[in-house]
Amino acid sequence: MAAVQETVDRVRQIDVDQYRYGFETLIESEKAPKGLSEDIVRFISAKKNEPDWMLQWRLEAYRRWLTMVEPTWARVDYPKIDFQDLYYYAAPKPKKTVGSLDEIDPEILKTYEKLGIPLREVAILEGVEPRPGEPDTPSRKIAVDAVFDSVSVATTFQAELKKAGVIFMPISEAIKHHPELVQKYLGSVVPTSDNFYATLNSAVFSDGSFVYVPPGVRCPMELSTYFRINERNTGQFERTLIIADKGSYVSYLEGCTAPQRDENQLHAAVVELVAMDDAEIKYSTVQNWYPGNSEGKGGIYNFVTKRGDCRGANSKISWTQVETGSAITWKYPSCILRGDNSRGEFYSIAISNGYQQVDSGTKMIHLGKNTSSRIISKGIAAGKSQNTYRGLVTAHRKATGARNFTACDSLLIGDQCGAHTVPYIEAKNASALFEHEATTSKISEDVLFYCIQRGLSQEEAVGLVVNGFVKDVLQQLPMEFAVEAQKLISISLEGSVG
């Protein structure tokens, strides 16, 4: 079935709003008292049975956070957040170590089923027919770590990964079982002092995923984490740490959704990637947090710090993101190109509709010799939304032979939205070669009519044209995600025209 067709079917199944993940799971949960203090930080650390070094690390971050102020430079506008009016920890009850899926609350299992996330260890079969002229896609395995509010509820395929030497587990477990790795790398890319939200995260992060791929190992399957915020008034602060040791390779996928609520919810994650010599990390995100309703009420505030460190020579980190959700997105997945000949890539599709505000982009920091980076950003603004690409490309004094290519394309749907491009370029080494291209266009009425004359509805036509616009980026996603992302893009733009 053609993806566009399927999208429309799905759109029909959705009620008033387009968001199909807006349901709430009714389970009992255990929460920390509202508000933030040293005691809360201690409470979280104690809940996780953390060693003392971890608690001290958190406390140091907390104390620093008290001295910091929220950044205001992004082109986003929202009422002041009362950080004392939030819960910083929520865990589904009863809390016990989960040995097998049978021990997970069936309500939670159902939630993930509804979301289409496989917690059973089955190979995922490609859900669509092969496209004409393309061979059948073989079924593939994906290991999933499912994070529900503040805790990881299940991680699949652990045994099989262990055989390959790959460590993939909730970070809370890694702190206990692999303290030497966590201590060595945690905060080494995004220091606790980095920025207001990253520092807050360092103090109160609850769970997230940890990945270590040993030297020379090509991770035998895609790894993925699926984040779900369920609780009301609860911030989600997950922490992800991925280390690809010398000559290794890993592809990691991240997905997220949240129930539909009238109040705004805070999500402040930190993701750190470390690639050693000759290693490669491919990190893909489909961000679909609840964007708020058609009047701009509710939705997630997504303030995320993602950074990769190409620490070794010839290492490579590539970020691919599809951003469709959240009321506010503040997110700049970046690469520090430290190793000689290292390479950073950023492929982004950011869609805003309704009253969404997106301020997203990347930073490519060229430090080593002959480093290269590539930025392809596709921004699509519809409704009354504002969509900003903000990017920084720098070459430091010693970064001889740094190369960057940036292409930012924006597509406007309707005339009440805005697209903005804010590139910052700094070259302190004369040999740096940075290229920047930017275009802004409006979706063409003639193109839409052409499609409609051939039988597509207005919405199908918009979906098709937009999917064509973002194709270069979609191709960067693993197959399963590409199909899902394509559907999501059409759904996100539902009701954007006419």
Binding site: P130, P132, L456, E460, L464, V465, G468
Partner: protein, 252 residues
Amino acid sequence: MAALLEVKDLQVSVADREILHGLTLTVNEGEVHAIMGPNGSGKSTLSHVIAGKPGYEVTGGQILFKGEDLLEMEPNERAAKGVFLAFQYPVEIPGVATMNFLRTALNAQRKARGEDELSTPDFLKRVREVSGSLGIPQEMLKRGVNVGFSGGEKKRNEVLQMALFQPSLCILDEMDSGLDIDALRIASEGVNALRAPNRSMVVITHYQRLLDYIVPDVVHVMSKGKVVRSGGKELALELEANGYAQYQEAAA
């Protein structure tokens, strides 16, 4: 013979300027009609209004298609019911592979008619047959819709779609412009192959040459937003010899 398309006293304005001033035209099932007329006389406007392009205000008259009020239908509904417009200027759709576009459109139409979607092998078979007979290489179908196609290739792609969708009314707006002599012959053969008792065609052209290939049953002369004369195929030859001068005055 039953009328397939009935345009009655149609008045159309664009941006508060009347372009069609009471146009009447009836096309019966199985007939091929040619419309000729000077630049700016409203030929493309008529084809757009029949297809349902936004931006035109119908201020009077009506259009019936198979006896139903066409102006009440959404443009994609018209397509599903069998109205096809081969555009004078086909647009480019970057990033959307032609093959994917054909399939999405065909299935959208089938679905609207309550038919099953075509299976992948059936679809591929049909596309190969049709594109083969029109001399369209498979490689072209992998490219974005009309992206980087030559003028002639774009027109051939229109005929390809027509052949694939099997509409009951085909409106061809200057299909011959931009086609070289061989391409014109191949495309015309493609069109002729679609002639059928239950299918009608409206062929808009400036040149008799096309009508040597696609021989019309009726020829209309349009001038200043009206049909000013209708006749048999010999009318086209007369126009070729004498031009439009006499009709320009008649319409004024």
